[in-house]
């Protein structure tokens, strides 16, 4: 066994022994860490759920362009082709007058009166281009393209009207805002938890400052003194990460039985639950990384001032 390895294991051992001896301090620091990490985790899941909801809405939304009577089938197909070239169009479908009529009949097959009325006239349904966008927020691009004079003269009407645009914009805006609020909340809680953990560690070190001085006088290296504190706080971080995962898991169990996995507006709880279960490992690893980072950084900084050589 090399001396380095012996020292390394000693640092780890001392850290764990200190953790056990300082049980109350550990509980106080960990409580804060658990709350922070739970909020972080909650925000991530909520964010994923919002994104999913937005994706679902985007999926359902299409823009229908109703072409003029005098626009030829060739011109319609050409326009569809041009629309496909736009970066924000996911799919563009061209329906000729016949196709559109066919679809109309299909949609209204339970209404024989309407069908017979349609059959007696000379196909009143206009040729239609259906556009599905990639990103709701950038739908304006498609609008702009359709407003160009040479394009505009080809169509009669667009289903994407101002009221609908407003609704879509509102959803996009709301999710965006919530995402930002989530990030700010996470940042603030991380900062507060960092300060409290920092303070807790600093008090622990203050109580044992004579011991640190003695260790220094006996020639202990910086890491031989600091190491156990860092190990101790890393243990806080690891345990808190696991605790936050367990808490969220319990919350899902409680909410799924209460709400029967129902959908609450933008918050699709069954999706959240599936997302959590599906990404359990990634989420756990992320929580561990965050917990270890907060713990290690706070004890590193808190010990720094006591480890300086006070030579004048």
């Amino acid at each position: 066994m090399s001396r380095r390895f012996i020292t390394f294991t000693r640092i780890i051992n001392t850290g764990i022994v200190n953790f056990v001896r300082n049980a109350w301090l550990a509980i106080a620091a960990m409580a804060v860490m658990i709350i922070t990490l739970t909020i972080v985790l909650f925000s991530i899941i909520t964010n994923a759920t919002f994104n999913n909801t937005v994706a679902q809405i985007t999926e359902k939304i299409d823009i229908s362009v109703y072409l003029k009577e005098d626009t030829s089938k060739g011109q319609g197909q050409e326009l569809a082709q041009d629309l496909r070239a736009l970066p924000n169009t996911r799919s563009v479908t061209f329906l000729s007058k016949e196709d559109a009529l066919q679809r109309y009949k299909e949609q209204n097959k339970d209404n024989p009166a309407l069908l017979s009325a349609i059959n007696q006239t000379d196909n009143p349904i206009p040729a239609t281009i259906q556009i599905k966008p990639h990103d709701l927020k950038k739908i304006q691009d498609i609008r702009d393209y359709l407003s160009k004079p040479e394009v505009k003269k080809l169509w009669e009407d667009v289903s994407y009207r101002d009221d609908r645009k407003a609704a879509i914009d509102k959803i996009a805006h709301a999710t965006n805002l919530m995402r930002k609020a989530g990030i700010v909340a996470v940042a603030i809680f991380t900062l507060i938890s960092f300060l409290i953990i920092f303070n807790t560690i600093q008090m622990a070190i203050f109580n044992r400052r004579d011991e640190l001085t003695i260790m220094r006088l006996l020639g202990a290296s910086t890491w031989f003194i600091r190491g156990p504190f860092v190990v101790e706080t890393i243990v806080y971080g690891i345990l808190s990460a696991f605790a936050s995962i367990v808490i969220i898991h319990l919350l899902f169990i409680a909410s799924s039985s209460a709400l029967q996995a129902s959908s609450l507006g933008l918050l699709d709880i069954s999706y959240s639950s599936n997302y959590f279960n599906g990404h359990l490992l990634q989420l756990l690893l992320m929580q561990l990384a965050l917990g270890i980072l907060i713990g290690a950084a706070s004890s590193y900084i808190a010990t720094k001032r006591y480890l300086k050589f006070k030579t004048k």
């Binding site: 066994m1 001396r3 380095r4 012996i6 020292t7 000693r10 004579d210 011991e211 001085t213 003695i214 260790m215 220094r216 006088l217 006996l218 020639g219 202990a220 290296s221 910086t222 031989f224 050589f309 006070k310 030579t311 004048k312």
Partner: protein, 204 residues
């Protein structure tokens, strides 16, 4: 002034004369405002912060107020000095009892510092200082807090260690001890060496 290897030097002087400062300069707890310090070939002017722990590992120090770790047993306190230098558990188990023998503390390994008398604590501190077998041992008024009998026990331990070949720098203002030891005596006054005599006696 110069101290030879294996010498036993007593530094005397009134309170505030600079005895402790002199020792703190040797352990690099303080930096000199002027002058040069070289110990065992190490020039203190060229010492960087990260070398200080390595320097301190080479010098054994006994403090007037013992400076034992309060939450550790006698054995652990002595073992700690070895843990710092990365000794194996095997080495620690072999070395610590031998050193406790030298200072006559066998059988008190499991005691906490609080449970010991002043003289016993001071001997734990000496055991800790010599367990790494330093070439130099610095003792800052090790008898200052002790009654005459215990004080003499501690001095006898120091003489024993010096006999094994360790250089000893001892500060004291105990006249009786100085006169009994009959060693080189350096007197410090107002931060200056006032006298440096061999086999000297001292009258405060």
């Amino acid at each position: 002034m110069h101290v030879e290897p294996k010498e036993f030097v007593i530094v005397v002087g009134q309170s505030g004369a600079g005895k402790t400062t002199f020792l703190r300069l040797l352990t690099r707890e303080e930096k000199p405002s002027s002058g040069k310090i070289i110990v065992g070939g190490i020039d203190y002017d060229k010492l960087r912060d990260k070398d200080i722990p390595l320097l301190r590992r080479k010098i054994g120090v006994v403090f007037q107020d013992f400076k034992l770790l309060p939450n550790r047993t006698v054995f652990e306190n002595v073992a700690f000095a070895l843990e710092i230098v990365g000794a194996t558990n095997h080495e620690i188990k072999a070395t610590v009892p031998k050193v406790l023998d030298i200072v006559n503390l066998r059988g008190k390994e499991k005691r906490m510092p609080m449970e010991l008398s002043g003289g016993e604590r001071q001997r734990v501190a000496i055991a800790r200082a010599i367990v790494r077998q330093p070439k130099i041992l610095i003792a800052d008024e090790p008898t200052g807090n002790l009654d005459p009998k215990h004080a003499w026990d501690v001095i006898k331990v120091l003489e024993k260690i010096n006999h094994y070949g360790t250089t000893i720098v001892l500060t004291t203002h105990n006249q009786e001890i100085v006169n009994k030891l009959k060693r080189r005596v350096i007197t410090i006054q107002h931060g200056q060496v006032a006298s440096d005599r061999d086999r000297a006696e001292y009258n405060a």
